[in-house]
C-alpha cells in the first residue's frame, strides 16, 4: 500500500471540504419536521438509546454541556439539539 503524503492529504481535505460544506449548508428539514417542538424531539431522539431524562436532572448550564455531548454521540442535527436543550432548560 502506498504511503500517504501529508501535503496531498491536506490538499485532498481542503478540496473535499468544498462539496461537503455545500451539501451540509444545502440540507434542510421539511415543514413538518421544522415545526416539531423540543418536547417532541426529546421524546423521539433520547429514547433511541436510553430513557428520556427529566428536565430536573441537570441545571440549565449543565444541559448546555450535555447537549453538545449528546449532539456528538447521537449525531443530532443542530436544530434538534438546540430545541431539546431549550426544552430541558425550561425556556
Amino acid at each position: 500500500m502506498k504511503k500517504i503524503n501529508i501535503k496531498n492529504l491536506i490538499v485532498a481535505c481542503l478540496l473535499f471540504s468544498i462539496p461537503v460544506s455545500t451539501i451540509i449548508s444545502g440540507c434542510a428539514a421539511s415543514a413538518k419536521v421544522a415545526a416539531k417542538t423540543g418536547s417532541q424531539l426529546w421524546s423521539e431522539n433520547c429514547r433511541r438509546c436510553h430513557n428520556t431524562p427529566p428536565a430536573t436532572a441537570f441545571s440549565a448550564d449543565q444541559w448546555e454541556t450535555i447537549g453538545l455531548h449528546m449532539q456528538s454521540r447521537a449525531l443530532l442535527t443542530e436544530t434538534e439539539k438546540n430545541k431539546i436543550v431549550q426544552f430541558l432548560k425550561g425556556e
Partner: protein, 405 residues
C-alpha cells in the same frame, strides 16, 4: 471676638458639612456598587463550564460449565462479577458554545483504562471535528449502547464489543443533517490503525486494546467511517453502514508488511409504540477481513499453514417495556432477549464458533438506574488448524445494578 470666631466657624461648618456628607454618601454608594459587582461576578456564567457525570456497574454472577459433555468442578461458582464491573467518571469541559473536551477513565475490575480523551469543536451546524483518543465510527454498539445503564442485558454481545478494537488515536469529522422528512448522519475518522499479530497462538489476529494497547507499526493511517439514514420523520428507524480500511502489517517486517484489513458493519435500530408497550429492536453485523492467512507451521517451521482470514460477529436484540401503563411498578419492568454469534477464521490456531443467548428481566429504579436479572448461555466450539478441540457450554445467572450519575 470669641463670638465672631464661633460664628465664622459655624458658617464654615455649614459649608463644609454637605461636602463631608457627600464623601460619606459617595463612600457608601461605592461599597454598595462593589458588593453588587461581586455578587454579579459570582453569578456570571463565564466561558468555562466543568461537569462530571459518569456511570458504575456492579453485580453478582453464578456460573456452571460443561466441557465436552462433562460437568466441570466445582459444579457452579458464585462470585461478585469482576468481569462486568465498571466505574467510569466522565469529565466534560465546555469552553464557550463550540468547544468540548471529554475524558472518560474507567476501572473495569481488572485495570484502569481510558475509554476516550478528546477535544471536539462544533464548527457549523452539521460539522463537528474531533482530535485525540476516541471511539471509532464502526457499527453503533460501542459508541452508543455499551454503557451498563443503557445495555438491557448484563453482558456485551460476544465478538461485537471487543473485536475489532473500539478506540484509537486520530482525527474525526461527523455530523447530523436534516434531509426533508428524513435525517442522515456521517462520521469519518483517520487514525493510527490496528496491528496484525503473528505470534503463533494468534497468527493473523488483530491487536486487541485489552492487551498491550494499540501501537503504530507503520506510516499508513487507517480510515474508518459510518453513514446512517433515519428514513422516518420520528427518527424511529436508523440504518447504518460502516467500514474500516488500513494497513496492519509492520513496516519492518518483510513477510507481513503488506498486510491490510477491510472491515464492514451494518447496524439497525427500530422503535415502535405498540401501546402500552415500547418495542426496541437493535442489531449489528461485523465482518473482519485480513489479507494475510499464511504463517509458519508451529509444529514444523519449514512448512506453512493457510486459512481464510475472515471473522464475523453479530447480535440481534429485542426488548419490550410497558411504558404507557398507569401502574408505576409494572411500567418500570423491561423484558429483553439477545442472540449473538462470533466466528473466527476456520483453520487458524484461534478458531472459535461461539453463540450467546441472553434473556433479561430488568427493573428501572429511575430513568438512569437499573437492576438486571439476566440468564445467559454461551456455547463455544474451539479448534486449531482445522482439528476440533473442546466444546464448552456455560450457563450464567447475573444480578446486576447499573447507574448513570
Amino acid at each position: 471676638m470669641k463670638k465672631s470666631i464661633l460664628l465664622f466657624g459655624f458658617i464654615g461648618g455649614m459649608f463644609l458639612f454637605p461636602f463631608n456628607a457627600n464623601i460619606f454618601a459617595q463612600s457608601g454608594t461605592d461599597s454598595t456598587v462593589i458588593k453588587l459587582a461581586q455578587e454579579v461576578n459570582s453569578l456570571k456564567a463565564g466561558e468555562s463550564h466543568f461537569l462530571v457525570v459518569g456511570l458504575t456497574t456492579f453485580g453478582f454472577v453464578n456460573s456452571s460449565t460443561t466441557t465436552n459433555g462433562i460437568k466441570q468442578k466445582p459444579s457452579s461458582t458464585n462470585t461478585f462479577d469482576a468481569n462486568h464491573y465498571e466505574f467510569s467518571p466522565m469529565f466534560l469541559w465546555r469552553h464557550g458554545k463550540n468547544l468540548l473536551l471529554e475524558f472518560e477513565p474507567s476501572f473495569d475490575g481488572n485495570q484502569i483504562g481510558v475509554n476516550w480523551a478528546c477535544a471536539s469543536y462544533f464548527v457549523t451546524p452539521g460539522l463537528i471535528v474531533r482530535g485525540g483518543y476516541f471511539v471509532l465510527p464502526f457499527g453503533m454498539y460501542n459508541k452508543r449502547l455499551a454503557a451498563g445503564w443503557i445495555d438491557k442485558v448484563a453482558t456485551d454481545p460476544i465478538g461485537v464489543a471487543d473485536a475489532p478494537p473500539a478506540s484509537d488515536w486520530g482525527v474525526e469529522a461527523e455530523g447530523g443533517l436534516p434531509l426533508g422528512s428524513m435525517k442522515c448522519s456521517y462520521d469519518i475518522a483517520i487514525t493510527t490503525g490496528y496491528q496484525m499479530l503473528h505470534d503463533k497462538l494468534q497468527d493473523g489476529a488483530l491487536q486487541n486494546p485489552n492487551g498491550s494497547g494499540l501501537t503504530d507499526n507503520n506510516n499508513n493511517k487507517m480510515v474508518s467511517g459510518r453513514f446512517a439514514l433515519l428514513p422516518f420523520s420520528n427518527s424511529s428507524l436508523e440504518i447504518g453502514v460502516s467500514g474500516i480500511f488500513g494497513k496492519v502489517g509492520d513496516t519492518n517486517d518483510s513477510l507481513y508488511k503488506d498486510a491490510t484489513t477491510t472491515m464492514y458493519a451494518g447496524d439497525i435500530t427500530y422503535l415502535a409504540d405498540i401501546r402500552p408497550f415500547l418495542l426496541n429492536i437493535k442489531g449489528q453485523y461485523n465482518v473482519i477481513n485480513v489479507n494475510k492467512g499464511t504463517f509458519p507451521n508451529p509444529g514444523d517451521s519449514t512448512k506453512t499453514y493457510s486459512f481464510s482470514n475472515t471473522s464475523t460477529s453479530y447480535f440481534g436484540q429485542i426488548s419490550l417495556r410497558p411504558v404507557s401503563l398507569r401502574n408505576k411498578i409494572i411500567r418500570n419492568f423491561e423484558l429483553a432477549f439477545r442472540y449473538a454469534n462470533y466466528i473466527t477464521p476456520k483453520g487458524s490456531l484461534w478458531e472459535q464458533n461461539s453463540t450467546q443467548t441472553s434473556i433479561g428481566l430488568d427493573y428501572w429504579l429511575s430513568w438512569r438506574s437499573i437492576i438486571k436479572l439476566t440468564y445467559e448461555t454461551v456455547n463455544s466450539n474451539y479448534a486449531s488448524m482445522g482439528i476440533s478441540g473442546d466444546k464448552t457450554k456455560t450457563n450464567y445467572v447475573y444480578l446486576q445494578y447499573s447507574v448513570q450519575f
